[in-house]
C-alpha cells in the first residue's frame, strides 16, 4: 500500500516535471491543443448555460423587485387617495365654517352655531341639530346659514333640536320681494318645493329671478333674511292670490351647519347676506 502510494506520487511528479521541461524547451503544445479541442465545445455550452442561468436569475430578481415596488406603490396610492379625500372634505368643511363664522360676526344679534346630525325627508321636512335646551335653545328659534333662511326650531330636546325647514308643507314664513316690496307668504309643499303666495295686482308684479326675503312681520324672523328666488310665476285667472315658485337660497341636501338666532333684532338683515341686494 505504502509502495503503491510512493510510486503513484513519484509518477505524478515525474509526469509534471517532464511536461514542464518539455514546455520550457518549446514542446508540449500538442497535448494542450488536443485537450483544448475537446474542452472548447463543453466550455462554450457551459458558458451559455451559465449566462442563461444568470439572466434568468436577474430577470426573476428584477420581477420580484418590480412586483414588490408595484404593491408598495399601489398601497401608497390608496393611502394618498384616502388622504386626498380627507383633505378635500376638511377644506370644504373649513370653507363652510369660515363663511358661517363670518356671518355670525356680521350679524347684529346673538347666534349659536349648530351641526346637522340628522335629516327627515318624507312627509315632514326637518333637520336635527346638536343644540338643545342645554344650550338655551327655545321653540321657534330661527335657523339660518350664510345663504339664507333654513327654518325654525319646532321641538327642543336636552341636547338637540328639530328644525322645520321652509320647504316643509306645514311651514309658513312672511316674505317680501326685495325689489318690489310685494308682501306675501312663503309656504312649503309636499313635493319639497317652496312657493310664494302674494296679493295679485298689488303694485308691481314680481319677476323671475327676484329675491324674496323675510318680511319681519309677526316678529318671529328678523327682517331681510334671503328665502329664495322666483323661479316661475303661476297665473290663475282672476284669483285674488297668485303664486310664484321659489328656488330656496339654501341647499337643504348639503346643509351641514346652521346658525340659530338666539337674540332678537329689528334691523333689516338683508345687507348681511352676500347673495341679497
Amino acid at each position: 500500500m505504502r509502495v503503491r502510494r510512493v510510486v503513484l506520487l513519484s509518477s505524478v511528479i515525474a509526469v509534471c516535471l517532464v511536461l514542464l521541461t518539455l514546455q520550457s524547451r518549446g514542446r508540449g503544445a500538442l497535448a494542450g491543443q488536443a485537450i483544448g479541442v475537446v474542452a472548447a465545445p463543453l466550455q462554450t455550452v457551459l458558458t451559455k448555460v451559465g449566462r442563461g442561468a444568470v439572466g434568468m436569475w436577474t430577470t426573476y430578481v428584477d420581477w420580484k423587485a418590480f412586483r414588490a415596488e408595484n404593491r408598495r406603490i399601489r398601497e401608497e396610492l390608496a393611502g394618498l387617495r384616502v388622504e386626498a379625500l380627507r383633505v378635500r372634505e376638511t377644506e370644504e368643511e373649513n370653507a363652510r365654517l369660515r363663511r358661517l363664522l363670518a356671518l355670525q360676526e356680521r350679524l347684529p344679534l346673538s347666534t349659536l352655531s349648530g351641526e346637522v346630525i340628522a335629516r327627515e325627508w318624507g312627509w315632514a321636512r326637518a333637520l336635527t341639530v346638536n343644540r338643545g335646551a342645554a344650550d338655551r335653545i327655545i321653540r321657534m328659534t330661527p335657523a339660518i346659514n350664510p345663504e339664507g333662511l333654513v327654518g325654525r326650531v319646532v321641538e327642543v330636546r336636552s341636547g338637540s333640536s328639530i328644525i322645520q325647514t321652509i320647504n316643509d308643507p306645514a311651514s309658513t314664513v312672511g316674505g317680501t320681494v326685495q325689489r318690489t316690496r310685494t308682501s306675501g307668504i312663503v309656504e312649503g309643499e309636499p313635493s319639497g318645493a317652496t312657493r310664494f303666495k302674494y296679493m295679485a295686482r298689488d303694485g308691481e308684479a314680481p319677476r323671475v329671478g327676484d329675491l324674496v326675503v323675510t318680511s319681519g312681520l309677526g316678529g318671529l324672523f328678523p327682517k331681510g333674511i334671503p328665502i329664495g328666488r322666483v323661479g316661475a310665476l303661476i297665473e290663475r285667472g282672476s284669483a285674488l292670490f297668485q303664486y310664484a315658485v321659489l328656488t330656496p337660497e339654501v341647499d337643504f341636501q348639503r346643509l351641514e351647519e346652521v346658525l340659530l338666532l338666539t337674540g332678537q333684532t329689528a334691523v333689516d338683515l338683508a345687507g348681511h347676506f352676500p347673495g341679497s341686494g
Binding site: 509534471c16 511536461l19 463543453l42 466550455q43
Partner: protein, 164 residues
C-alpha cells in the same frame, strides 16, 4: 463511482473556466477544482487526492493556457499530503474541513509561486498573496463550507431514505 469521480474532477475544472466568473466577488474567483480535490482527499485518502489533484490541475493548466503541469503538480501534492495527514487530523468536523481548505489554498498558492520561479514568473510574491492567493483562499473556504453543508445534507437524506 469512478464515473462520478471523473465527473467531479473534470466538472470542477470546467466550472472553474465557465461558472466561476459568474460568482466572482470583485476580482476574486474561487478555485473550485482545489476545493473538490481537498474534499475528495479528506474523504478518500492520499491516492484519490493525488490523482484528483493531478487530473484537475492538468485540466486547469490546459484550459487556462498557462504552463501545463504547474497546477497538476501542486494540486497533486496538495491532494496527496492532505489525504495522508487527514487520518491524523480531526477532519470529520466541518469547521476543520473549512479552515483546512483555507490553509491548504494558501499553501498551494505558495507552492505554485515557488514552482513558477523556475520558469521566471514575473509577479511579486507580496502582491500575489495579497490580491490573489489570500482572497481566493477565503472564498474557497466559503465555497467549501457550502459544499460541506450540501454533502452533509445529502448524506442525511440518503441515510433517512435507507432507514425507511
Amino acid at each position: 463511482m469512478r464515473a462520478s469521480l471523473a465527473l467531479l474532477i473534470f466538472g470542477g475544472g470546467l466550472a472553474q473556466t465557465t461558472f466561476a466568473s459568474f460568482i466572482r466577488i470583485g476580482d476574486v474567483v474561487p478555485d473550485i477544482p482545489l476545493t473538490v480535490v481537498v474534499l475528495l482527499a479528506l474523504r478518500r485518502g492520499p491516492e484519490i487526492g493525488c490523482l484528483a489533484g493531478f487530473a484537475s490541475g492538468l485540466f486547469q493548466d490546459v484550459l487556462g493556457g498557462g504552463l501545463v503541469g504547474v497546477q497538476a503538480l501542486t494540486k497533486a501534492l496538495t491532494g496527496f499530503t492532505l489525504g495522508k495527514i487527514g487520518g491524523h487530523l480531526w477532519v470529520h468536523e466541518p469547521l476543520v474541513q473549512v479552515v483546512g481548505l483555507v490553509v491548504l489554498s494558501i499553501v498551494e498558492g505558495v507552492a505554485r509561486f515557488l514552482l513558477m520561479q523556475f520558469f521566471h514568473f514575473p509577479g511579486a510574491f507580496g502582491d500575489l498573496m495579497l490580491h490573489v492567493v489570500l482572497p481566493q483562499s477565503l472564498y474557497n473556504g466559503v465555497i467549501g463550507a457550502a459544499l460541506v453543508l450540501a454533502m452533509a445534507w445529502t448524506e442525511r437524506m440518503r441515510a433517512h431514505s435507507s432507514w425507511r
